[in-house]
């Protein structure tokens, strides 16, 4: 069985890269990028099972990026990060097409569970 490929998009470099590294160590194929533009470039070349996108980012925001990914890679499942700590924002994101959401700071176990669920494993 192929490992699940995950792309993390968060403007906080220390977060996206470290989280990607942790996921790698947990057996995922994980890449971390720090902007929506970088993520869009990457999905042109590679396909990911799951994308984890921070809602609040400079430039193209998380929700905007999700819509573009949905057009380009409809099979990719998207999990959103929100720093607002409310369910309301996450529920809105699900209505807009996200698979699920997580409130920062996350627990790695929760993240892995949601990724696996999103990837159908």
């Amino acid at each position: 069985m192929n490992p699940i490929s995950v792309l993390l998009v968060d403007d906080e470099e220390d977060l996206s890269l470290v989280l990607a590294e942790r996921l790698e160590m947990k057996g995922f194929i994980a890449r971390g990028v720090v902007s929506s533009e970088e993520a869009l470039d990457l999905i042109e070349k590679e396909e990911f099972d799951v994308m984890i996108i921070d809602i609040k980012m400079p430039g193209i925001g998380g929700l905007d990026l999700m819509q573009r990914v949905k057009q380009k890679r409809p099979e990719t499942q998207i999990i959103l990060f929100t720093g607002h700590g409310t369910d309301k924002e996450g529920e809105t994101a699900i209505d807009d097409g996200a698979y699920d959401y997580l409130i920062k700071p996350i627990k790695i176990e929760d993240l892995i569970a949601k990724i696996e669920k999103a990837a159908g494993k």
């Binding site: 977060l15 590294e21 720093g83 309301k88 700071p105």
Partner: protein, 572 residues
């Protein structure tokens, strides 16, 4: 005095008591109340009082015209008759003593002729005699044997010698019937003098003069200045009895006065002092029948005035209370609205700030968390990692601190969040008991008594169950924190005005200082030091505001704290 003050304070509105007065005092409302009450009383009572007194005096004048003036006229006429009777007889004696020589008057025969003529012309004479300067009776005409009688030591003789004339009070004397004496003195050469003395029958005065003024309700009689009757009286007894009404004060004219007798009944007294005599003419009328209408009218007037004043004062007090209470309530509402606006705005600003801060902190927290997690993963994945246990222990400390910060930021965001409420019908008694179910074990463990004061019927309310649970859990948690072991918690639910229900949660814990009380609903304010985040009551406040309710707190250090939540019965 204290009881009187208590009664007054119970009648008077709250602003007359210094209890529960605001910082600036109730002075403004007291002044307003007094002004309203005084002005209203003045403009409403003055015309009433003036009109009543005008009516009173008009009726009194009519009454006087009908009752007093006839008595005054009657008394004046009788006084003139009585004065004339005495004056005429004194004048004729005076004329005789001046006209006749002493020798003529000493002559018994001549005196007899003179006395006969006198009796034919003037009624009332009984006898007449001449007394010399030594007081010896020199001649006498009359039914008694008085020749040679010596009057020198009698007081009347001294009086006539000094004043030249003397009118006596009524007395019995030798004659054994009421009579009085008129004596006149005439001086002769060489300092000598003699006295002409006549006795008059008082019965003549009674039958000829006083009888004229008798009416069915009137008594006319004469008294001396000691109140001894000089004639018989229908009301006060026989001659020489002392009347039991006061002797009227001296006056040189006819007077009419209203007086009350020993039984409290009114009588009208007309009286006149008869000059140059010891007599006082008295006309007493007991006008009970005639006065009935006047008394009834006067009483009606006084009753009308009294009852009207009482009712007007009641209405004025009610009006002043009503008016000033409404102004006071409007002012309090205004102040409360301003305070709420200010407070809500302050809370909203703090909420926005808190949410911003929480959001910004979440990112670095996540970084710390993930880096710590990565380190943990590396240690776990590396075999024979040196001092792995100690390393993992420190990483655990970091992640626990992150979790703690995370709880705070989530609560902060919760304080500012505006999630939809889910309205349902709630039985408050059940809801409170559900909440207390969470704390049941702690209550038992700490021996805390929980007393419910809930009437049988409490209306259900429309509200958000989950949020109300959070509200009451926060409040009761705070109470538990304040209580010592063995403390007491009183929970009271009562229907309140304006379609609301009041829930009071009162503990007998350590209480809250006045300073802390002012900030208790502000975020981050806590008196629990490291235990509390200072967000519980601010979140509670926000939820209650959102649900259309109010929360207030009263506390006294060392006595306890009482939170009161007011919730609307209907959700709007």
């Amino acid at each position: 005095m204290n009881i009187f003050r208590k009664i007054i304070l119970n009648i008077l509105p709250v602003y007359f008591s210094e209890e529960a007065a605001p910082e600036e005092g109730w002075g403004r409302y007291r002044r307003l109340w007094r002004r309203v009450a005084f002005l209203t009383a003045f403009v409403s009572l003055m015309p009433l009082i003036i009109m009543t007194f005008v009516n009173y005096y008009q009726y009194k004048r009519v009454f006087e015209e009908e009752m007093i003036y006839p008595i005054s006229r009657l008394t004046s006429n009788t006084r003139r008759s009585l004065s004339s009777f005495i004056d005429e007889r004194r004048s004729v004696l005076d004329m005789i003593i001046r006209d006749k020589e002493y020798d003529e008057l000493k002559n018994q025969e001549k005196l007899t002729i003179l006395f006969r003529n006198l009796k034919e012309s003037f009624g009332g004479f009984i006898d007449m005699g001449v007394i010399d300067a030594d007081g010896i009776q020199q001649s006498y005409v009359g039914p008694y044997e008085l020749m040679g009688k010596n009057y020198k030591d009698q007081s009347w003789f001294q009086d006539v010698r000094l004043r030249g004339i003397y009118v006596s009070e009524v007395f019995m004397g030798y004659r054994k019937f009421p009579h009085f004496v008129i004596a006149v003195m005439h001086e002769i050469d060489k300092g000598g003098f003699y006295v002409l003395r006549a006795t008059l029958d008082m019965e003549t005065v009674s039958s000829n003069i006083l009888a004229l003024s008798h009416r069915p309700s009137t008594d006319a009689f004469i008294i001396n200045r000691d109140g001894v009757l000089q004639t018989d009286s229908r009301f006060y007894g026989k001659t020489f009895d002392t009347i039991h009404i006061p002797v009227p004060p001296i006056s040189d004219k006819t007077e009419v006065v209203e007086r009350l007798d020993d039984n409290g009944r009114l009588y009208i007294l007309g009286y006149a002092y008869i000059i140059q005599s010891p007599f006082i003419l008295m006309e007493v009328t007991k006008p009970e029948e005639q006065m009935k209408n006047w008394f009834s009218l006067r009483n009606d007037l006084l009753w009308f005035l009294g009852v009207s004043i009482f009712l007007i004062i009641l209405v004025i007090l009610w009006g002043a209370n009503y008016l000033v209470r409404h102004i006071l309530e409007a002012d309090l509402r205004h102040a409360r609205v301003l305070h709420n606006i200010e407070y809500t705005s302050k809370m909203a600003s703090i909420g926005r700030l808190a949410a911003g801060v929480a959001h910004e902190i979440n990112n670095p927290l996540s970084i710390i968390n993930e880096n710590a997690g990565l380190l943990k993963d590396i240690v776990a994945a590396t075999e024979d990692f040196p001092r792995a246990e100690k390393f993992l222990k420190h990483i655990e400390a970091v992640t626990k601190s992150v979790e703690r910060c995370s709880t705070i930021t989530h609560r902060l965001l919760g304080f500012a969040k505006r999630i939809d409420t889910q309205i349902e019908t709630i039985d408050l008694k059940n809801l409170i008991q559900e909440v207390l179910g969470f704390l049941d074990k702690e209550a038992k463990h700490r021996n805390i008594t929980i007393a419910y004061h809930i009437p049988e019927y409490i209306p259900t309310i429309e509200s958000d169950r989950g949020q109300l649970q959070q509200v009451f859990l926060n409040i009761i948690n705070n109470s538990f924190d304040a209580l010592s072991d063995g403390g007491r918690l009183d929970i009271t639910i009562t229907p309140s005005e304006l379609n609301r229900v009041s829930i009071s949660i009162k503990d007998n814990g350590h209480g809250i200082s006045e300073h802390d009380l002012q900030h208790i609903f502000e975020p981050f304010f806590t008196s629990k030091k490291e235990h509390g985040t200072g967000l519980g009551l601010s979140i509670t406040y926000g939820i209650i505001q959102k649900l259309g309710g109010d929360i207030s707190v009263e506390s006294k250090v060392g006595v306890g704290t009482s939170f009161t939540v007011m919730l609307p019965i209907k959700h709007e």
